[in-house]
Symmetry: C3
Subunit: 129 residues, 3 copies
């Protein structure tokens, strides 16, 4: 499962770097804690980071289970699509939130394939016992 | 651990569907990213989704560990209670936020039983070595 | 991996207790759902809880992988530093958000060491096959 785990770790690294950017943006745009609004660029970065968190809670367990139950190769391939989608999402959202559709749609599609694939995998195990 | 994993996957599916509903509500109630406020129904859906995320970070690792250390049957049963509690929570919160107590309390209770059961399980392993 | 798991469970317990405190603060400071702003003390507690969630999504998988690939002893030691850092963070943030630097920096540092150590661990496995 090393390749699948490598993808998970790169996704977490992307997310942690986004978190650092939010911290730096607090100072630069003078949005002092606990506020999360006050400057449009800060708000975009903050939402990109939050959305990445929202995706990771589903992506991390599901990509591992997909590697376990369906295919390590496909789990890795879908994971790489997810990593690219998250970069597209972040870059486009920060430039113009309305243009986030491609990155958002692609990362959502990957998570959906993983969840449904895993549910199929677990159903097969449970039902054939 | 297939049944416990099935419960985890259904919980993630519920959460991903809620995320889709938040996305659709952005358009319907004209709450454009990066805003997260502006229409009461959108705000309720958004908070239900966020609260589900807040619960999943504790529920997912804890229900697996409970299956591992305490009992797979009990982990599955508590997990099913959690799934039902999350549906009650979502339906009632969207109708009227003040009525969310039952669903919120029940999902919180399940997470507490899981965390404390796991801590007891791990303490027994660590202390009897 | 019992000690590493014990650290993960205490981190989740800290987080769940913070969640309870946010719930109690809603009543005390009259910040009714779905609002997340309205009283400075509530806003601080709410952000401390959210930030803990933001850290846990990286901390939980990474500390386990660190125990698995690098060293259980170091994973446990770094995990204990994280637990202490989260308490410092919560106490100082609630007192005065500007003083959160020590707790925030320390917990961020631990997560960074874990992510980079895991990436090194997984790279070694993948490349030496």
């Amino acid at each position: 499962m090393a390749w699948v785990t490598a993808v998970v770790l790169v996704a977490i690294l992307q997310y942690v770097v986004l978190g650092m950017m939010v911290g730096v943006a607090r100072g630069r745009y003078q949005v002092y804690a606990p506020a999360t609004t006050g400057h449009p660029t800060f708000e975009r970065l903050f939402r990109v980071h939050q959305n990445s968190l929202e995706m990771l809670i589903a992506f991390i367990p599901c990509v591992w289970l997909y590697g376990w139950w369906v295919s390590q190769t496909w789990a890795t391939a879908l994971g790489v699509v997810f990593l690219v989608a998250r970069i597209i999402y972040a870059v486009q959202y920060i430039r113009e939130p309305r243009s986030r559709q491609l990155g958002a749609g692609l990362s959502f599609l990957v998570v959906m394939i993983l969840v449904l694939g895993d549910l199929y995998g677990v159903a097969r195990v449970v039902l054939t016992r």
